[in-house]
């Protein structure tokens, strides 16, 4: 039976937005924690840590996100882990986010003037305190704009989860499109919802850029 496109269909698409937002939030937070470790490894004094984290970043920035999701989705069962689409997608997006955020924050950490580190050392602060109290707060401020920019990219990226069968905003639109035979409206509505989340974040990123970016 072909259904009409009514407010119920709009709500059905909207309900997909919940999954999109939760997925983005989890991937951003978990990816942020892992990304911080990557950024610290990338700027550490140990050569092998720098090389390993560099290779990790290069891999995720040099391969398509869709294939990364495929690898996690088809790879986990190979290692004996039967996981739901939810878990697979969350793990895939978290890994993806950790590499990108790691690279963004590496840039931020390295943009902090060297004198700051030297001054902290002269004051007798320990290595941990130098990083946490002196370098990271300044580095994070510099990285704020690209971090929000990446969040937009991540939210848009969650749409790829629909390809491996995870129901979020894009998949909800696909389902509505096939029950109503109104793909034009269904995808426009979904696009509008994405725009409603991403546009304010993009503006925020541009604002932060003008406020916190390093002036060259």
């Amino acid at each position: 039976m072909i259904r009409d496109f009514s407010s119920i269909e709009v709500l059905q698409i909207l309900s997909g937005m919940q999954a999109t937002l939760i997925l983005s939030a989890i991937a951003f937070v978990c990816g942020g924690c892992a990304g911080l470790a990557i950024a610290l490894a990338r700027t550490s004094p140990f050569r092998w840590l720098r090389i390993a984290s560099g290779a990790y970043i290069d891999f995720f920035q040099g391969t398509p996100m869709l294939l990364q999701l495929f690898l996690v989705f088809y790879g986990l069962p190979v290692f004996g882990l039967r996981v739901s689409a939810w878990t697979a997608v969350t793990i895939g997006l978290t890994l993806h986010a950790s590499a990108y955020l790691g690279e963004i924050w590496r840039g931020g950490i390295q943009a902090v003037p060297k004198g700051q580190m030297e001054a902290a050392r002269a004051l007798g602060l320990g290595a941990f305190s130098r990083m946490v109290d002196i370098v990271l707060p300044q580095g994070m401020r510099i990285s704020l704009a690209p971090t929000v920019g990446f969040l937009v990219q991540l939210i848009k990226g969650t749409s790829l989860a629909s390809i491996i069968g995870f129901v979020e905003l894009s998949r909800a639109a696909q389902i509505v499109s096939s029950t109503t035979y109104k793909p034009l409206i269904a995808y426009s509505v979904a696009g509008l919802f994405y725009f409603a989340i991403c546009f304010p974040l993009s503006r925020l990123s541009a604002y932060l850029e003008s406020r916190f970016a390093v002036k060259t």
């Binding site: 391969t63 294939l67 499109s177 793909p183 995808y187 696009g191 725009f195």
Partner: protein, 222 residues
């Protein structure tokens, strides 16, 4: 771990995989060329005197940049036929990729134009150069130098984005991998191989771009 990796079942498909790589590269090259031209027009429209043109260019950029590429592909391939505009998967893929690339290039090009101080144009005029000479000898190289890194990473980004058009079964590396998957049932192996192929293409491209950068855009050593 009881899983037996069997990469050898993929060996007979090397021709298909190679063709997939070529198609992906070709698709991203078309998208970048069309996208860059579109981006140039859009960047100029952003600076035009007509408010309508400025508004149109800005809405185009913001709509494309703030919605997922997957949805743009679906909109063009499944949505537009309702308006009587039907595309083959391949042309829908080119259209979507070019539109996407255009919006991102427009912002890059705008940054390049903005990077040239106004005084450079005045200086050219003061030296008695024609506007064309000023552009060619004074403006072009510095602005290319500013936008080159972003543009070259845009190319690699386009290459990685092409994988998404497999969702409308346009033929490129990912859809080739998917069809090999349905024949061999070795999903993990085939996607490992496809991922590595993308990685190799991206690495080779970025090396080539670095060489070009060093040859053409580095400041002369003193």
């Amino acid at each position: 771990m009881s899983y037996q990796f069997k990469f050898e079942v993929l060996l007979p498909f090397w021709k298909e995989l190679l063709l997939g790589c070529a198609l992906s590269l070709w698709l991203s090259a078309i998208a970048v060329v069309l996208g860059f031209s579109l981006g140039l027009v859009t960047a100029l429209a952003r600076r035009s005197k007509s408010q309508f043109l400025r508004g149109a260019a800005l809405s185009y950029i913001e709509v494309i940049r703030n919605t997922p590429f997957l949805l743009q592909v679906f909109f063009i391939f499944f949505g537009l036929p309702a308006l009587g505009l039907s595309f083959s998967p391949w042309s829908a893929a080119i259209l979507a990729l070019s539109l996407n690339c255009g919006a991102f290039s427009a912002e890059i090009i705008r940054a390049g134009i903005d990077a040239i101080p106004r005084g450079q144009f005045d200086a050219g005029a003061a030296l008695g150069l024609t506007p064309l000479q000023t552009f060619r000898d004074i403006i072009l190289k510095p602005s290319l130098r500013v936008i080159y890194p972003a543009l070259s990473s845009q190319f690699i980004l386009a290459l990685l984005t092409t994988s998404i058009v497999s969702s409308i079964s346009a033929e490129e590396l990912t859809s080739v991998a998917q069809s090999i998957d349905t024949v061999t049932f070795r999903s993990f192996e085939i996607y490992i191989v496809a991922t590595l192929l993308y990685f190799m293409m991206a690495t080779i491209l970025s090396t080539i771009f670095k060489i070009i950068d060093r040859a053409c855009f580095s400041y002369p050593m003193k």
